[in-house]
Subunit: 204 residues, 2 copies
């Protein structure tokens, strides 16, 4: 498509680098910004520039933070003996939103994926092992995706933790709350049955 | 959703003001920017800031441009006696991409819509009328959407142009090229039949 303006062309090119955004949607964004108050555009530009330049990664758990350490690692009311291992910050936010977890996190920043060329050294596993070796951690909860990559990463970390004296667990997999049994896929339903719990423990 | 960082929260708020983008997608954008090279973010911020501050609107046809007048109005090879009236710049780009049109444009910047509180004074009709009154224009082609609002705007402009000595036409509506007749909606098919052309004129 030909653009009537080089400035527009540039903005569309940059906006279309956002994930899942093609040139057509990028053009819609650009024309929206042109139509709106200039303040909207400058606030957007400012906020993303600041985000990129000022945000920090927690030096303990690797989660994003405005300070040296994140709000979870700073919180002395939380149980620092339990560490939940997740792929990215979105997972931290999802678990935090359940208000069911009182431990801390470790954000790997990715999972082992030979196809994408991501090895064990490219994600933050080493740091996790050294956190465990420093002591004070009793349990590691694996909360990685149930894909080949996620399972590989979980197995790898589990292997690395042998002899470190920590309990390694994994989050429960099963039929979603509210889902019909008949529509659940076989693997999930199979796991739900295999990992059944005493009824009395279900609602504790 | 709780955000682990105020900087992230701000970026998500601003990104979710883009059309069709909710907070979940905005978060995906923000985390994508965080993961990528800082240059990507600064280029994005720069391009939208420049777009908003430096872009001009062609003083003849109201289309967007890097200069005082747009590339169409500047082009002396084009037929300045024909003006195609469109709603917005996206329509100009769509028509330009056909490489079938050699006239100029007039971008209204909206259409009359009483529901949205947009009246005839809010869009660039007056400027179009004065362009016609200045002389040199023989034909006005209406290329507005076939909605109640689009039709209202077309009728209004047509009425304003009575006595100005210009021919007013409208782009043809009919079954799309490549579409099956059986799946065309009744109104479109009806128009296609009513506005049929001599076969010899079809491929001229």
């Amino acid at each position: 498509m030909d653009y009537p303006s080089l400035l527009l062309e540039n903005a569309v090119s940059e906006l279309s680098k956002l994930p899942g955004i093609g040139r057509r949607t990028a053009l819609r964004f650009a024309l929206h910004l042109l139509k709106n108050d200039p303040i909207v555009t400058s606030q957007l530009a400012d906020s993303i520039t600041k985000l990129r330049s000022e945000i920090k990664f927690c030096r303990i758990c690797n989660s994003i933070s405005d300070h040296e350490t994140c709000f979870v690692c700073n919180d002395m009311k939380r149980n620092h003996g339990i560490v939940c291992v997740v792929e990215n910050v979105r997972d931290v936010m999802a678990i935090e939103n359940t208000h069911q977890y009182n431990g801390t996190y470790h954000v790997l920043g990715g999972i082992i994926s030979p196809i994408e060329g991501i090895g064990a050294k490219d994600i933050d596993i080493e740091h996790l092992i050294s956190r465990v070796r420093e002591g004070g951690i009793e349990e590691i909860i694996m909360a990685l995706p149930t894909t080949i990559e996620g399972d590989t990463t979980s197995f790898y970390i589990n292997k690395m933790l042998i002899g470190c004296g920590v309990r390694v667990s994994a989050i429960a997999r099963g039929v979603s709350v509210g889902d019909n049994i008949e529509f659940a896929d076989e693997v999930t339903l199979g796991r739900s049955i295999a990992n059944r719990l005493p009824f009395s423990e279900m609602y504790k």
